[in-house]
């Protein structure tokens, strides 16, 4: 069974988001997503300052088997992209909720968070 931490929000497309009190958030993909992708070989991430609306494609995660788009769970502006994934894309398989966070963002519209799934809601989709 895949791991679904209780303190995160989720999309049906298998992204997770962890929101901090200061209005920033960190986004990645779930344990279920990394298992389905298999060996990740490359993560294509946006530049600092890029802006996305809820549901926009913000990057691509590539495995031996397939390339999959990454969807922004919320409207946001990118503050930092995880450069560690450049040299170690396999972190996505090993630490999907830790070392393999993908982007740190400024949340534009906190009200959108209400549309996301909680851990129980996401687990029910798997």
């Amino acid at each position: 069974m895949s791991n679904v931490p209780a303190d995160l929000h989720y999309t049906k497309d298998h992204e997770w988001i962890k929101v901090a009190a200061d209005g920033t958030a960190v986004i990645g993909i779930t344990d279920h997503a990394q298992a389905a992708l298999g060996d990740v070989t490359f993560v294509d991430l946006p530049k600092v300052g890029a802006a996305f609306n809820h549901g926009d494609v913000f990057g691509t995660v590539e495995s031996v088997k397939a390339a999959s788009d990454l969807y922004s769970p919320i409207s946001c502006e990118v503050l930092e992209a995880n450069s560690g994934l450049n040299n170690s894309p396999d972190l996505v398989n090993r630490e999907p909720y830790g070392g393999a966070w993908m982007i740190k963002v400024k949340v534009k519209n906190p009200a959108e968070l209400a549309s996301l799934l909680d851990a129980a809601g996401y687990a029910a989709t798997l």
């Binding site: 060996d39 070989t41 490359f42 294509d44 590539e62 031996v64 088997k65 390339a67």
Partner: protein
């Protein structure tokens, strides 16, 4: 095509071993167990065991068997020695490929032919439609056989643990009939589809699970792992072996695919000879190239190849090469561009330079 997927005799074992099951060519097959890269590297460094029981088999026998096969295959069949196998293509009159096959000569007048899974019914129908007045019969033995591919530098050492059949004397593309893990009536063949040393074992379907378990148990201390179709694909692409439906197909001939060495124009007549001869003389309109990328993105099937701003081809297969640590692939490229140093491929809007390879990435 039937809507229901077939299962090999090893389906329950795949599930027990944690294989991720996917539909492939009408079969439910494991694409991976622990991970494609790990399984790939095991085959390069130790050994991997693949279930390839989805592959089909046809037995061709009769007084005219060799002559019949010479008339439908591009390679020479009558000169195969008993106990040896040969790779060949079976072509349409226009030179397109019906299938690519391995032909085993069991006796002077008896051959066993290995067919691609998705083509097996088509191949058997094609062979039967071209029997003519030959004294020969084509038997469908797809259900009778299971196939295991034991591949990797330690394959011989591992196989020797479970068979009393002498292995050292089997030449490349040679085979013997023998016993493996108590199962009699097996064909042990020094062939493979990975670019590493190894064997393919044809065995009665009812014995498959017993033999696979014996191999996995005996081979585990030597680094043998079960390997899935994902690693099979990345291994064959590193070795530049064609996959039907990608590098060869009904629209891509053996001449275009760089398999001209399998086409024996010295034979008096065979289906496709005239069309293939024209291509070989005048040069085909397009041909298959092997490439690598100095990039992190993989160019996948269908990605468009450019010369400058002009589309000149498309990617046929693409994956990450675990040995090179970079993307590799094949593409069908229009005549005049097959040795160009300035080709690019479009990957999600990025133009990535193609580095053409003249040799397989592993040998």
């Amino acid at each position: 095509m039937s809507d229901t997927l077939s299962r090999t005799p090893l389906f329950a074992l795949h599930v027990e071993l944690g294989g991720r099951i996917v539909p492939f060519a009408g079969w439910e097959m494991p694409v991976q167990y622990t991970g494609i890269i790990e399984e790939h590297m095991a085959v390069r460094k130790t050994a991997g065991l693949f279930d390839v029981s989805h592959m089909g088999e046809a037995r061709v026998r009769g007084r005219d068997a060799a002559k019949f096969l010479d008339g439908i295959m591009t390679n020479e069949m009558s000169t195969i020695k008993v106990g040896m196998a040969r790779y060949t293509v079976m072509c349409q009159p226009d030179g397109g490929c019906v299938d690519d096959l391995i032909v085993y000569r069991l006796a002077e007048e008896e051959f066993l032919i290995c067919l691609n899974a998705s083509n097996a019914p088509k191949d058997i129908a094609w062979m039967r439609a071209h029997l003519g007045s030959h004294q020969v019969e084509v038997l469908d033995e797809c259900a009778a056989w299971a196939q295991l591919a034991l591949q990797g530098p330690l394959a011989e050492q591992i196989l020797a643990l479970v068979t009393s059949t002498p292995l050292a004397s089997i030449k490349r593309f040679g085979f013997v009939l023998g016993e493996v893990a108590g199962a009699t009536g097996c064909i042990i063949s020094r062939t493979g589809y990975t670019g590493s040393l190894g064997f393919e074992i044809y065995l009665p379907a009812a014995s498959a699970e017993k033999v696979a378990r014996a191999l996995l148990t005996s081979g585990k201390p030597h680094g043998l792992v079960p390997a899935g179709l994902g690693a099979r694909d990345s291994l064959r692409l590193e070795a530049n072996y064609p996959l039907y439906g990608h590098e060869i197909s009904e629209r891509i001939s053996p001449i275009q695919a760089g398999l001209g060495w399998t086409v024996k124009f010295a034979k008096p007549a065979f289906i496709g000879r005239e069309a293939l001869h024209r291509q070989a003389q005048g040069g085909p309109t397009s041909s298959v190239v092997l490439f690598s990328l100095d990039d992190r993105r993989i160019a996948r099937q269908g990605a468009v190849v450019y010369s400058g701003e002009t589309p000149v081809g498309e990617v046929l297969s693409g994956t990450q090469s675990p040995v090179l640590g970079k993307p590799i692939g094949t593409a069908l490229v229009a005549a005049g561009h097959a040795s160009s140093a300035s080709l690019t491929v479009d990957i999600r809007g990025n133009r990535i330079p193609l580095h053409l390879a003249t040799e397989p990435f592993v040998k």
